[in-house]
């Protein structure tokens, strides 16, 4: 079972233009900032909005704008799980699960609830469930219809942190047992990495990067991904051993190649000094500490100046430097700590 989709949606000045191929047994996480078009993509795949292009699932053409073909949502056998469960508030849990089932639906619904360990909630109304319970029921309600394509729209983001990890583990188990195509929309990188085999990063209606979580975070192609991975991303033009940065300034980097490149600098590779350092580092800039943020046992320092960077240092270093907001420092990065790749 696989999905091949070319989806174009235009409306109100927004254009979504995405090509997506998902293989059997693969879980895709669609990541991106708000307004990137992630939810629009899901709604298009679900058949809830008209598209230009073509969607083929398991060899069946669900959408083909050229041939004028559009299979309505109710005949697509797609499963849709929203951020908040969207259980029908006027039906019990059992009736919610039975809603999409045919023939002896009550017994089948009981079986599904039983296997999920949710049988004791069968007679409760959705309003009486906790957020985590309701979302588990919503997932079961969808899986019970045995869809060929499972679309999850931020399924965990409405949950309390306390139940999110547990629900994520359960979701992970259920995704592994599900045989259809799985697409998860999320803005939580942890969720994406925990659940997905492949990340698809969207920005402004387009796919800007895709690959395994390790690939994507090692070589971010956009500020959004760089922020997710917590690294500095700089864009510029390479000339053999240095990069002319788009924002001004120069970056010394061995074997930078030629042409448009992206450079990643891990915040831990950025060292801070009160006086201009002598010796090996060739990348030294004057910078202003604009913001200090304690994260675990590290302090993230946002630096302003010719080359805006985030540095990660120990609290001890902050103490030794007497570093405070607005202070002037020298930032240094060893050339060998910079990873440069084609843009």
């Amino acid at each position: 079972m696989s999905l091949h989709a070319e989806v174009v949606v235009r409306r109100n000045g927004f254009a979504l233009d995405v090509r997506l191929d998902v293989d059997e047994g693969e879980t895709i996480a669609v990541l991106g900032p708000n307004g990137a078009g992630k939810t629009t993509l899901l709604r298009a795949l679900a058949g809830l909005i008209a598209i230009e292009g073509r969607v083929e699932l398991d060899g069946e053409v669900l959408d083909d704008s050229k041939a004028g073909r559009h299979v309505p949502t109710e005949r697509r056998r797609v499963g849709l799980v929203f951020q908040d469960h969207v259980l029908f508030p006027h039906m019990s849990v059992l009736h919610n699960v039975a809603f999409g089932l045919r023939g002896d639906s009550m017994r089948k619904a009981r079986d599904w609830l039983g296997r999920a360990g949710l049988l004791e909630m069968a007679d409760r109304m959705p309003g009486e469930l906790s957020g985590g319970q309701a979302q588990r029921v919503a997932l079961i309600r969808t899986l019970a219809t045995q869809p060929r394509l499972l679309l999850l729209d931020e399924p965990l983001s409405a949950l309390d942190v306390s139940v999110r990890a547990e629900t994520r583990r359960e979701l992970s188990r259920r995704l592994a047992a599900f045989e259809g195509v799985r697409i998860l929309v999320t803005h939580d990188p942890l969720e994406a990495i925990a659940l997905a085999d492949r990340l698809v990063v969207m920005e402004q209606g387009k796919v800007v990067q895709q690959g395994t979580p390790a690939d994507v975070t090692a070589r971010p192609r956009s500020r959004f991904v760089a922020d997710l991975a917590g690294v500095n991303l700089l864009r510029g033009r390479a000339h053999h051993d240095h990069v002319e940065l788009d924002g001004g300034g120069t970056l010394a980097a061995p074997d930078a190649g030629e042409g448009e490149v992206l450079a990643v600098i891990h915040p831990r590779a950025v060292a801070l000094y009160l006086a201009r350092p002598e010796g090996t580092p060739r990348n030294v800039w004057r910078a202003t500490a604009e913001e200090l943020d304690l994260q675990g046992d590290r302090v993230r320092v946002r630096l302003g100046g010719a080359v805006p960077l985030v540095a990660e240092v120990t609290p001890g270093a902050v103490r030794d430097l007497h570093l405070d907001r607005g202070d002037q420092v020298w930032a240094a990065v060893k050339a060998t700590e910079i990873s440069v790749y084609r843009a």
Binding site: T73, E74, R77, V78, L80, F82, V86, F88, F99, G100
Partner: protein
């Protein structure tokens, strides 16, 4: 938050406005022949008019539900010019003088009317001046209240419920019957109550299109109008009944209307 003081003259005008509401209602209660309420209530003219009013207004409400809910659904799904035209058409009876509505109904369903003439020649059906005419007149005037309420409910509805139902394999009819309709219940209920109240009080269109025939088309408002000339106590008692019904509706729906 400190609000700007209301200027004195405006306060006086507001008080005058309130008195305009209050004095007539007070007069109705003060001048009511309370000792005659019992006998008047069981007088045959009263019970006949009351029974007819209940029958007509409830039938009109049922008719409005059957026709108005689908109409509201259609309204909520259309956009642009089509929607503007449909909306104008459904809300027009709310602002149209009821007597004009009555004349229009007469021209449509009268014996020589646009739709009435073929009905009469083909089936010998005559609508005007029958109980059916009273029901139609009330439906014409009252249905917009239901349509507007239900359409508002539909617009406020989280459309993802319907989308979830579709994704679970439900066709259009199942989505409507099992999801949309139950979720609309509060809007339908308050719309139906408003519609019924308007139908119960209907006068202008009814007297024009259905006439004023005791036992057939003389509903309570028409009976009040007639009784005022011949037997004012009866008119006052009937008015009190209508007032009580209005108050009951206001109290019953206060959470929905006036905000909790």
């Amino acid at each position: 938050m400190s609000q700007a003081r209301i200027p004195g003259p405006l306060l006086a005008l507001a008080a005058a406005g309130l008195l305009l509401f209050l004095v007539p209602l007070a007069a109705l209660i003060v001048r009511a022949p309370w000792d005659q309420v019992g006998p008047e209530l069981v007088a045959p003219e009263t019970t006949t008019a009351l029974g007819l009013s209940l029958f007509c207004s409830l039938t009109a409400t049922a008719l409005a539900l059957i026709l108005g809910v689908p109409l509201a659904l259609l309204l909520s799904r259309t956009t642009g010019t089509v929607r503007a035209v449909l909306r104008a058409l459904t809300t027009l009876p709310m602002v149209l003088p009821p007597v004009v509505g009555g004349v229009a109904l007469l021209l449509a369903f009268g014996r020589r009317g646009l739709a009435g003439a073929p009905l009469y020649t083909a089936f010998g059906i005559q609508i005007p001046f029958s109980t059916a005419a009273a029901v139609i007149a009330e439906t014409f005037v009252a249905m917009p209240f239901l349509v507007i309420a239900v359409e508002g409910g539909l617009r406020a509805l989280d459309h993802r419920y319907e989308e979830s139902a579709r994704a679970l394999g439900a066709g259009a009819w199942k989505v409507f019957a099992r999801v949309t309709l139950p979720l609309l219940r509060p809007a339908i209920f308050s719309g139906a109550v408003l519609c019924w109240a308007r139908a119960l009080g209907e006068f202008g269109a009814t007297i024009t299109f259905a006439g004023n025939l005791p036992g057939r088309t003389q509903t309570v408002p028409l009976a009040v109008y007639v009784a005022l000339e011949t037997k004012p106590e009866g008119a006052i008692v009937l008015s009190l009944i209508l007032l009580a019904v209005s108050l009951a509706i206001l109290v019953g729906l206060r959470d929905r209307w006036l905000g909790a």
